[in-house]
Symmetry: C2
Subunit: 378 residues, 2 copies
């Protein structure tokens, strides 16, 4: 990774170079043996004007050229989409060693430029109703709160947990533990959401080196981590049974579990997409960690803390680690890899064998546009 | 395909819907059996402001949702990059039936908006020297003309051939055959390049349905066409042996030939990337159809006409068929599929068994950013 944060003086290339070389050093793979690359970026066409061949421009700066490079985008799931492409490239037998990179830059020297980007993004998400994303999200949330007894305090508890975890993560954007009171007392964004319940704007990059099982044995200085499966879904829209149907995250999880021959009970540690704090509670259900509406019981009992039986967002999650859109998924993967190897420092959970990464993002009509669920194992 | 041309009243979705359903009808695959999709688009972040989840928005309109959708970009090779991704998805065993789509919209109701897009693109390509792409290209070309005796008339002959072919193609943007005199007499863009030697601005879409060999037998109402191999390369840059090294197109072709166990002598029909007419001559060399500098001899002898021994750009090429950036590669694939099946109408060449598609595009430093070479066979 390149740490997540606000780096006005750095370009996309500067962020990417650090993540790429950290990944290569970590993997113990000679750089010359990298045969192909996938580069995920979501917004730099609007940020920098570099709409085409972003990955070629970014990787040239990191010293990589003369290999197949593919640019991919999938909103908040861009990073894990690159992972899925790299996984298939290796699985198809086309190449044995593939680099995947997610990089995003949202901060700009002039505040109005950053706002322009976010406005451009928001414009796409307006859904023809004049609402911004968070306003719409808050309305949907309030129905759920009424139905299942969720309260603002539960969302604040999610942030309390994640900010505590993030305080131990040298790659996190925010490293100050927040109390429930501080979260509730921060500026109101859209009732019931306060500022600290929303993931921040971030710059950052994360990368991974994938290789075939056979080739991995050659490099393995460290414990190997295997991609057990990746599930992916896009929105379905306009389904008359909309209210009773499973979310796309649920379907992506189902695909991943089935392909891997694993179930929610096998997951020892997870990174989930808390773009807004209540999302973490929704995703507990989606991933099968609890029944519908049961997320608050998990939070209240502390079961998803580092010390709990199903630790979630040991990295600090999007809330504390930050959320540079296309870099997020691969940062989550990095956290799970460190956990599975026992290298997560003060954030380490007890000897995990199976880890999960979940991303859900984008909005088309009234539904998330894309979800990925990745299962990793020792 | 959706025909290429100027369609001010159509959105990306309108172009895509037609191409997708034409491809599905052509393939004879029940739409419900499509399991995943790759959507290539290069410039719509700058054109429409839809920077993220383009494919989800575009395919929803065509009636496709609830499947994995990945957005890919690779400049002029975006369409064949989507093809390569879909090919790997099937080869990896993850899914058996995959839709790939390339769609682009460059024309806008106000001329200044279109110019703004092209300026944004040009800005990226300025290479820090104050040149626009075509100016730089023309300078490089003049060195080559001096070394190998290439003349303006040769480039005009390429356009004469391609515009003749395009006149038989109902999907082509320009269907008027041009004489050498008309090409030479059109407005000068950058000596020696005249307007008709440059591919036009275009709107359009093209799609393909890929499936595993096993599954294809189930659907096969029409002759099957197989992807024998796809080679891909990105620029290498700053190589001290720059002047003597092979182009990235040459390397992509080498990869494709080796993977397919085929050589240039096996190619019966080819679609090559004549973004500017002389490029077709360069690509004859890159693809092994002739020795260095030998492209003009092929053109002079008429060997790459429909009636020649190695017909090139029977569709009309970028010059006549048009060049909606991310749609181009899959339109070339469509032409080769029709040729291999004997369905190319007045453009049909005699019983071809092996066809080739080549795309080279983007500029980073002084080199093309990406090249793909695809080999298809009966």
């Amino acid at each position: 990774m390149h740490p997540f944060g606000k780096f006005l003086e750095k370009r996309l290339e500067d962020l990417a170079r650090v993540a790429v070389w950290n990944a290569i050093e970590d993997a113990g793979v000679p750089p010359k043996e990298i045969q192909a690359a996938y580069v995920a970026n979501s917004l730099s066409g609007l940020v920098t004007g570099q709409e085409g061949v972003r990955g070629q421009v970014i990787l040239r700066d990191a010293g990589f050229s003369g290999i197949p490079i593919v640019n991919v985008e999938n909103a908040c799931a861009s990073g894990t989409t690159a992972l899925r492409c790299g996984w298939m490239e290796v699985a198809s037998g086309l190449h044995d060693v593939v680099l995947v990179l997610g990089v995003e830059k949202l901060f700009m020297p002039r505040t109005e430029d950053s706002i322009r980007i976010l406005m451009a993004d928001a414009e796409v998400r307006l859904m023809g109703m004049g609402f911004q994303f968070l306003g719409w999200y808050a309305m949907e949330l309030r129905k759920y709160m009424a139905a299942y007894g969720w309260r603002k305090e539960h969302f604040a508890k999610v942030v309390e947990k994640n900010s505590f975890n993030g305080s131990f993560n040298p790659n996190a954007q925010h490293r100050k533990p927040l109390s429930v009171e501080q979260v509730l007392g921060s500026r109101l964004v859209a009732e019931p959401l306060t500022l600290y319940m929303c993931s921040p704007m971030s710059d950052g990059a994360a990368a991974a080196v994938l290789c075939s099982r056979e080739r991995a044995k050659k490099y393995a200085a460290r414990p190997l981590v295997e991609i057990a499966a990746i599930g992916m879904q896009s929105g379905r829209y306009a389904d008359p049974r909309a209210s009773s149907r499973p979310s796309i995250t649920t379907l992506a999880a189902k695909e991943a579990y089935e392909r891997a021959g694993l179930g929610p009970e096998d997951v020892d540690v997870a990174e989930v997409h808390d773009a807004v704090a209540p999302s973490e509670l929704y995703h507990y259900e989606d991933l099968g960690f609890c029944e519908k509406g049961g997320g608050v019981a998990l939070i209240e009992a502390g079961r998803t803390k580092i010390t709990g039986d199903i630790p979630v967002n040991t990295s600090g999650g999007l809330a504390a680690r930050g959320h540079p859109v296309a870099a997020t998924g691969l940062a989550q993967v990095a956290e799970i890899v460190w956990q599975l190897r026992g290298e997560a420092g003060l954030r380490q959970v007890a000897a995990p064998k199976v880890g999960l990464v979940e991303n859900t993002g984008g909005i088309v009509e009234d539904e998330a546009a894309v979800a990925t669920v990745t299962l990793l194992k020792r």
